[in-house]
């Protein structure tokens, strides 16, 4: 299987189908990331095309010594930020006020430890649907900075070191955001239904 760098080189050499292979490899991750950032499918579609067209129009913009996915997600993030600036609006990413990290209190085992089953049976479907809604709401409770790191790590699969470089932040800051996000997610997910 060709590497990303080899596919970009082939594309630069005039092989348009190499771009198809690259897109096949990365399209779901980039689109998923943009969808989470914007919260709007129409905006995600536009930015998704904009990101890839940058490579089509200026293939030299990607320096082949760089990891392709790092470049791709940098372009995606920048394009999303440009989009928000053009629209003069805040993204889904920044639409919620962040909440403080949970207090370092309860050390007792929470219900989540036993509630999440990696391979749920049919009888667990309803429970998992409710859990999905809870997770969605919990992610919305993260601060914009925590969400940004969380989504980048999930979709790009870049290391935290690479994410720190992408965001221009010290790795300690990135990890601290993720750690607070994890603590908040736990707190939200372990809340008893009211």
């Amino acid at each position: 299987m060709l590497t990303d760098q080899e596919l970009v080189a082939a594309f630069k050499g005039g092989d348009a189908e190499a771009l198809g292979a690259l897109m096949e490899r990365h399209k779901a991750a980039v689109y998923g990331y943009l969808l989470r950032l914007t919260g709007r499918p129409d905006a995600a579609d536009d930015i998704f095309q904009e990101v890839w067209l940058k490579l089509v129009r200026r293939p030299g913009a990607y320096g082949e010594r760089e990891k392709f996915s790092a470049w791709l997600f940098t372009v995606a993030r920048n394009a999303a930020m440009d989009h928000f600036r053009r629209e003069g609006s805040r993204s889904a990413l920044f639409s919620q006020e962040g909440v403080a990290a949970p207090a370092d209190d309860d050390a007792a085992p929470g219900p989540l430890e036993t509630a999440v089953s990696p391979e749920p049976g049919p009888h667990e479907t309803l429970e998992n649907k409710a859990l999905g809604e809870k997770i969605s709401a919990a992610l919305e409770r993260l601060s914009p900075e925590q969400r940004e790191v969380f989504y980048l790590r999930h979709y790009s699969e870049l290391s935290f070191k690479e994410i720190a470089e992408l965001l221009g932040l010290p790795i300690g800051t990135v990890l601290a955001r993720m750690s607070r996000a994890a603590a908040l997610l736990r707190k939200e997910l372990e809340k008893k239904p009211q």
Binding site: M23, K27, V56, A107, P109, E113, F160, A182, R186
Partner: protein, 156 residues
């Protein structure tokens, strides 16, 4: 959570810890319910994101590929622009001239390490110069393209 394992736990969850650090986190997890709870929360969130993954619309992918094919179709013998093609032609001509230069004091027996070397130096210089010229021309073209795009966007 005051156990001090917050960041190490994150690295552990995402598979970025190895060796003794990883083993240390695993030992800690046996006694820290808060950390186990955070791992479970991360796992649940990750599982949910995976389960609700979305594919881009086929039309969006097709639109990009159509432009890529159009750009490829516009290539001149594999080059993306006429400018690149012309510069490559110039480079080829320079190479031809370089190889046709007579070697100084060349004898048939020394052809590979005397006059030909000198000719190759000249060719190398010509290649470097042509490559630099090509980079400048490409940069100019990119700038012009950017300006055209900006103007076009303003008109729209």
């Amino acid at each position: 959570m005051n156990c001090g394992y917050g960041e190490k736990l994150i690295l552990y969850f995402y598979g970025e810890l190895a060796g003794e650090l990883k083993a240390g986190v695993e030992r800690h997890l046996e006694t820290c319910a808060a950390c186990r709870g955070e791992l479970a929360a991360l796992e649940a969130a990750q599982g949910w994101l995976k389960a609700s993954a979305a594919e881009p619309p086929a039309a969006a992918v097709a639109a990009v590929l159509a432009q890529a094919r159009a750009a490829g179709g516009a290539a001149v013998f594999g080059f993306r622009t006429w400018g690149e093609a012309l510069l490559a032609g110039a480079l080829t001509a320079l190479l031809a001239v370089g190889f046709s230069l007579p070697g100084r004091g060349t004898s048939p027996g020394l052809a590979w390490n005397s006059g030909l070397d000198s000719g190759l130096d000249s060719v190398e210089y010509s290649i470097d110069k042509a490559q630099a010229d090509m980079a400048v021309a490409q940069s100019d073209w990119d700038d012009s393209y950017g300006l055209l795009e900006a103007e076009s966007a303003q008109e729209v």
